[in-house]
Amino acid sequence: MKIRVDVMLKTGVLDPQGAAVQHALGTMGFEGIQGIRQGKVIELDLAENDKAKACAQAKEMCEKLLANTVIESYKVEAL
């Protein structure tokens, strides 16, 4: 089953890349952007077909490698 993992910098952690993208959009004439945070999306294709078990596996992968929980938060979603 396919699982989607979103990894984002935690609120409060400076995101220089998001800030640069926001600045660029501003100079292109896009108005009213109040904030941009840039993260990553990781798609996993797992042999496990039980949704709860697959999500639990993905969560363990996030804790151990996919996210650095010192600075990043993650969200696991079955597709």
């Binding site: 952690v13 220089p16 151990k64 490698l65 996919l66 650095n68 010192v70």
Partner: protein, 222 residues
């Protein structure tokens, strides 16, 4: 002193580190990251700069899960000395041997230049060759040297004297101007600037020599 330098795919300061330790009198072994244990009887393990595994996922993240790293963590837990420079510092934060994390430079650019550092703690084997408040010049060469740590942890690091070096003029946005962090037992140092690139006058400076000499002397004496 018996030292080992770990080599990952993409390491590029491994030989510089080995030369810096050898010149200070250490006996140095290179260890490939796929080896599942370190040689016996090591005093010091050094984790070099470079771009291990292409910096994929996060800087140092994949190196921190290499087979050799379990052995590195055990070496640290046993009270062995560990020095992590640049990418090596990133690897040490990813393993949890040092607190915090290193993210993209605030100015988004790769920075390669000499920087002035303040010595903040001269009571470690790494820094006893310097004096607190002394300024030293080491080169930096990084894209992700922006050290981040929660405010309460920053206060704790300051309170425990665990900041080894700060930048005189913060180049990358690091919290508290931090350039180098020390473990609670004072046996692990991670820093973004490169002391091993400052051990030969022909290469522009020798301020790094005191770190390697002091380490070799103190570990031999211990």
């Amino acid at each position: 002193m018996r030292a080992a330098v770990i080599v990952f795919p993409g390491s590029n300061c491994d030989r510089d580190l080995a030369v810096a330790f050898e010149r200070a009198g250490a006996d140095v072994t290179m260890v490939w990251h796929k080896d599942d244990h370190l040689p016996e009887g090591l005093d010091m393990v050094a984790v070099p700069g470079g771009f291990s595994f292409g910096d994929y996922l996060r800087c140092g993240a994949i190196a921190a899960r290499s087979p050799i790293t379990r052995s590195l963590i055990r070496h640290g837990e046993r009270g062995g000395y560990i020095l992590g420079v640049c990418n090596g510092f990133q690897v040490l934060t990813e393993t949890g041997l040092l607190p915090g994390a290193l993210i993209r430079n605030a100015g988004l650019k790769f920075i390669c230049k000499d920087v002035e550092l303040n010595v903040e703690n001269d009571q470690t084997a790494f820094t006893q060759g310097y004096s607190k408040g002394e300024q030293v010049t080491f080169p930096i060469a990084h894209h992700d040297g922006n050290y981040q740590v929660p405010d309460e942890k920053l206060a704790e690091l300051r309170g425990e004297g665990r900041i080894g070096f700060t930048y005189a003029d913060n180049p990358n946005g690091s919290a508290g101007d931090i350039a180098g962090v020390i473990s609670r037992n004072r046996r692990v140092l991670g820093l973004m600037p490169h002391p091993e690139r400052a051990v030969d006058a022909a290469h522009g400076g020798t301020d790094g020599v005191a770190m390697f000499s002091a380490l070799v002397e103190s570990v031999v004496a211990a």
